[in-house]
């Protein structure tokens, strides 16, 4: 079919690494080997190396559940736990479930309430045949990007002391819907006082002005892990078939209409940042000092990148609207 040819060409041009091919041997990832898990829990190779875990593999089911839960919260932060296992330097997330707590600034306390729910849920899961353990927590940052706030960092450091191995995942459902691709990040904190030897270059993302301080103060205390996804052969098959029913939704989705508020918020935030940058520029006008020049450049440079990102998303949304208009509104009688 033409769409598969187009997809393959595009994948080739962009060096997409195909995920494990959907043959039954890849389903072995679903097998829970209790002996091996117990052995690695005893050995604790992560205790000596703060940078031990480098990769995260998330199952299709876990991703779906987390994104849907995050989106259902609207503008309120929601959180939940992830179940899985470890595999060498990778943490594998098999499933996720939501916790009945609402996100507030005092989320550390809320976690205590959720323990009973977590214990009940884990017990019922083990009975039903899901043998893995809780391996991390996820929460949503609706509209302000995937990073760990100050409270998140302290919660995660606590978790990493007592509940190893533990992973923190952040999802932004608003940006997911607006940009059309899943906005997710996986993090692990460094223990107190540990200085990372090299600064890993993380992907740039725009942070709204009211959160940028919180981001800046703590951004050196944790590192991001690479995320990859996996699905079983049956999942592959079902998802392919699902596309036969899905194409209607792809065509009919209108991201512009759904995200008008978010875009307006982004633009006003950008305006504030511009004002700030202008203040910086006027203050250090005399004699460009080496370091301050770099800061101004990167201020304005960042703002430029933000504005182009917003524009690109808007343009994409408008493109689909125009295409739909051409398809369904301009009807001509052909001979």
């Amino acid at each position: 079919m033409d769409s598969t040819i187009a997809q393959k060409t595009w994948e080739l041009e962009n060096n997409i690494l195909a995920v494990e091919a959907p043959d039954p041997s890849s389903d072995f990832i679903f097998y829970y080997d209790e002996v091996a898990q117990a052995m690695s829990l005893k050995a604790k190779p992560w205790a000596n190396d703060p940078h031990f875990f480098k990769r995260v593999k998330i199952s299709a089911l876990a991703l779906l559940k987390m994104v849907i839960h995050a989106r259902s919260g609207g503008t309120i932060e929601v959180m939940g736990l992830m179940i899985g296992k470890t595999d060498g330097d990778a943490i594998i997330v098999m499933d996720a479930f939501a916790l009945p707590v609402e996100g507030t600034e005092t989320r550390v306390n809320a976690q205590a309430d959720a323990y009973e729910y977590m214990v009940d849920y884990s017990q019922t899961n083990k009975q039903a045949g899901r043998l893995e353990n809780v391996v991390g927590w996820y929460h949503s940052h609706p509209g302000y990007g995937c990073w760990l706030s100050g409270i998140d960092v302290s919660t995660q450091m606590l978790n990493q002391q007592f509940q190893e191995p533990f992973l923190a995942v952040v999802i932004d459902p608003t940006r997911t819907v607006s940009s059309g691709k899943v906005d997710i990040g996986a993090f692990r904190t460094y223990p107190e006082g540990y200085k990372p030897t090299d600064d890993p270059i993380s992907e740039y993302q725009t942070i709204p002005l009211n959160k940028i301080e919180d981001f800046g103060v703590h951004c050196k205390q944790y590192y991001a892990l690479n995320i990859s996804y996996f699905k079983s052969s049956l999942d592959c098959h079902l998802l392919d078939l699902l596309w036969n029913k899905y194409w209607v939704n792809t065509l009919s989705s209108s991201p512009l209409l759904g995200n008008g508020d978010y875009v307006a918020g982004q633009l006003s935030d950008l305006a504030e940042k511009l004002e700030q940058a202008e203040n910086h520029l006027t203050h250090s006008r005399i004699g460009p000092l080496g370091t301050s020049r770099k800061k101004e450049e990167s201020h304005l440079g960042k703002i430029t990148r933000d504005s182009s990102k917003i524009t690109v998303e808007q343009a994409h949304g408008l493109m689909s609207q125009v295409i739909k208009d051409i398809l369904f509104n301009s009807v001509r009688q052909s001979k």
Binding site: F28, A36, F97, V182, L242, Y246, W247, T250, P288, A315
Partner: protein, 325 residues
Amino acid sequence: MASSSSSGLTFKLHPLVIVNISDHYTRVKSQLSLPPSLTSTSSAATSNNNNNNSNGGENNQNPPPRVYGCVIGVQRGRTVEIFNSFELIYDPSTRSLDRSFLEKKQELYKKVFPHFYVLGWYSTGSDAHESDMHFHKALMDINESPLYVLLNPAINPAQKDLPVTIYESELHVIDGVPQLIFVRSSYTIETVEAERISVDHVAHLKPSGGSAATQLAAQLTGIHSAIKMLNSRIGVLHQYLVGMQKGDIPCESSLLRQVSSLLRRLPAIESEKFQDDFLMEYNDTLLITYLAMFTNCSSTMNELVDKFNTTYDRHSRRGGRTAFI
């Protein structure tokens, strides 16, 4: 046993349920069949052999296990929307359903999703069996007319349709004895935007980030495949109509009526208000693009001015315009 349903309910199924059931099945299946080597990564030869063995006959010893679970969702009027599902413990040999487990799970899910309630149950297999009726009846005290969602886990590459069927139960009088039998119902797939994006993400593995060119390519590829599907579907209809015109296919007026009503719905919207709103949206996007270009320009200008100032440093000892050494 399965004729078409007459209850008139419309069913909407979310993809999360399908992925849930498939995951449950894969887990149970992989726990039962031991991977060839546990300690080290097995050599390709042995693993392939074992795979072929387990796939060819689909049974090392036993047929693929059946998994059971509960589906939850909302029913509003005539529309039943199935959102989520969870596993249940059921022993087919003794036909006993673990009630306490079911209740516990229900409680847990009620806390997080207060609007959902039990709509029915699911299982895997190729067809609905008589024995399934027992499970069905067991659930009847929670929901008077539960649904039965059946997923066929056999991977058939030639298959075009989703191997998921929804059955309802109806009271029919057979041979003078009133019996409950399963009747098949049709359903549609319903999704929210976030669900669609994550399913898309996992199914087609689009790259996250990357330059604007790759993002554009990704967006357009998606729309292109959707339009391709639309085109092929319309092609099918067109062939059918041509065949009817030629006389190869007997005329069916109900279908013709549907096609003509579909055609009459185009153009979709033609009011003036729509045009106004559409143009306003268009103008807004153009404005944003203009703004972004402006910001880009001013940032470049700023850099230029800075570089100029560095090159012609007025505060240097030599003073005036000298070459920067």
